[in-house]
């Protein structure tokens, strides 16, 4: 089959690799009909996530049809059309039973590695380094899905692939970021980063009752999308002082909740941006947490800081004094996707959410290398790329 393989920094190749096969009784094999590139895939592409090996198959956002099931998978049949959550969860451990699916105790075969780095191991994730289990990802024609009796959700025929694909990660990640803000009537929410997750965080914040949502970015088409599709007010961080503007926009109070949808590769100019770029380049820190620092500074007293953008290692110069003395609440983590699949599917079916608007590029899986490069540099107005494996590309 064809698959997108990581070979090093800024080096992904579409290669012919062996077909996946059932390795455990609760596995299924999915023929991928649509997959997408996540902003967090760029952290792999840029080499900021350790423990990648040349030849690893990328991709944790994918959907498709079931072509094979293991002996213990009773809920799926050949031909079922499913979306697959990006964290792999067993469904039976303490964490799964308490809806903390991305913290599953049992799905990381290389848990010792994550324990060494994080103290304890979170769930395995498709195509996201050996620290997260070393699972082959879904930017491929076929993918092996472990614990297939727990993760995949059947998609009704009235929901098209371009809507359903975002249930795997992007939409629930934006939603959980907003849910973590514990939004109350009258609240203002500020969102750093108007990429796909930021767009969905804005929509979700409104859905959960926010009075105002302010999106922060500098890429014109992303700011336009946040205004026109998600209904946010917007700030261009290159053109204005974000902290001062947010204070001004909120009558001097500050946003009640701040969402960091940028993560460890946040862009920023000036001396601070240079400081982080140099430190990250020589691996003295693994993130450039500009958005996080600014969000802490901007957040109102007693407010909530919700982190959706991915952090992988160590960051620097986090203003803990501001966070502590303003009594902020921090909420974060990989998304517990399983918990949100059905409620969000219902929002899509009822027309309250139509996530397909974020797609700017539809390409063949064969063109993945070009797609990564374009997405990284935000060329051609690129916000979100979906990739179709060749067989489906030809027939559609």
């Amino acid at each position: 089959m064809r698959a997108v393989c990581w070979h090093g920094v800024h080096d992904v190749r579409v290669e012919t690799v062996p077909q996946p096969r059932i390795l455990n009784p609760r596995d299924a094999i999915i023929q991928v009909t649509l997959t997408s590139i996540c902003g967090s895939d760029l952290h792999l592409y840029d080499g900021y996530v350790p423990s990648m090996l040349p030849g690893d198959i990328l991709g944790h956002e994918f959907m498709g049809r079931v072509v094979e099931v293991g002996g213990e998978v009773q809920n799926l049949e050949i031909g079922d059309r499913v979306v697959v959550p990006f964290p792999i969860a067993c469904g039976q451990c303490y964490f799964c039973r308490h809806e903390m699916w991305s913290l599953c105790d049992n799905s990381n075969p290389k848990a010792w590695m994550a324990e060494a780095v994080y103290g304890y191991s979170p769930a395995g994730i498709y195509g996201y380094s050996h620290l997260m289990g070393g699972y082959a990802g879904g930017q491929a024609e076929y993918v092996r899905v472990p614990f297939a009796d727990v993760g995949p959700m059947k998609v009704p025929e009235d929901v098209v692939d371009e809507q359903a694909i975002f249930l795997t990660d992007t939409l629930p990640t934006g939603y959980m970021a907003a849910e973590n803000c514990a939004i109350k009537a009258g609240d203002t929410v500020a969102v750093w980063g108007c990429g796909p997750v930021g767009q969905f965080a804005i929509l979700s914040a409104y859905l959960l009752g926010a009075e105002r949502v302010i999106g922060i970015d500098t890429v014109p088409e992303r700011l336009a999308m946040a205004r026109e599709h998600a209904g946010a007010e917007t700030l261009d961080y290159e053109a204005t002082s974000v902290v001062a503007s947010l204070k001004e926009l909120t009558g001097g109070r500050g946003p009640d909740a701040c969402i960091d949808a940028a993560g460890m590769e946040a862009s920023h100019g000036g001396l601070e941006g240079l400081y982080d770029k140099v430190k990250q380049a020589v691996r003295l820190e693994t993130g450039r947490p500009h958005a996080l620092r600014e969000a802490i500074q901007a957040c109102r007293k007693g407010g909530v800081l919700s982190l959706a953008g991915v952090y992988g290692g160590v960051i620097d110069k986090v203003p803990m004094g501001a966070a502590f003395n303003k009594a902020l609440t921090f909420k974060m983590g990989q998304t517990h996707v399983h918990k949100y699949l059905r409620p969000l599917l219902e929002h899509i079916q009822q027309g309250r959410l139509n996530p397909a608007f974020i797609i700017t590029h539809r390409m063949s899986l064969e063109d993945a290398a070009q797609a990564y490069e374009m997405f990284k540099h935000k060329e051609d107005g690129c916000v979100k790329v979906v990739l179709q494996p060749a067989a489906y590309w030809a027939s559609s």
């Binding site: 089959m1 690799v17 996946p20 690893d56 067993c90 010792w112 699972y135 082959a136 092996r144 614990f147």
Partner: protein, 246 residues
Amino acid sequence: MSDVANINGYTESQDRSDLDVTVGERLLTIVGGGALAWYGLSRRSLLGLATAAVGGYAIYRSATGHAPVREGLSLVMSPAEQPMVVEETITINKSADEVYTFFRNPENLVRLMDSVESVEVQGEGWFRWIAEPIPGAEVVWHEDIVEDRPGERIVWRVAPDADIDSHASVTFTPAPGERGVETRLRFEVYPPGGAVGAAVAGLFDSIAAKRVKQYLRHAKQLLETGEIATVEGQSSGRSDVEVECW
């Protein structure tokens, strides 16, 4: 005392002569011992540890030009007074009785340790273990259960004729707030003394804790999910077999 474990190749070569090992034999055992020590280190099982220890002994034997075990040197033969201990804990989301029943069945223990081929029940409380960590290097040992308290604790001890005396225990304590069972797996190994003992102790310190934790993880995965999570045998853009990241 029997010969260097029961690894066939070494047993035969040493049985051929009561004299000091020849130069050729020294070369062979250095290479073989090194390979065996490396191999033992690369296996994720306590048995692998034992293999590594035996490999370390083979290196010692060829480096000194003596076969101290054959000569019965007390320096090497008398076990250390203090055991080497490794203990790891994991919480398993099952009842104490379920976890006890799992550990009491030797078939399940084989599934935890990937270099073990089989275990046979031999009469009351006795088990005969067989492993073949490398082709032709079969390792056999006997264990019996010396303490068996359902739902609470099991203690195994290797037969007295083994080269390295050891025992293992597993203890079950209910965790608070219905969080399952705290399962504590403990190995005590009495290594031979002297240089070999020091080598064994070094190996034990560096690898045993990680390995024992892995046994516990496998037990938890089997008990909670019915399978051991794996990526071995999956697809990749590498031409070799799946690289094991140790």
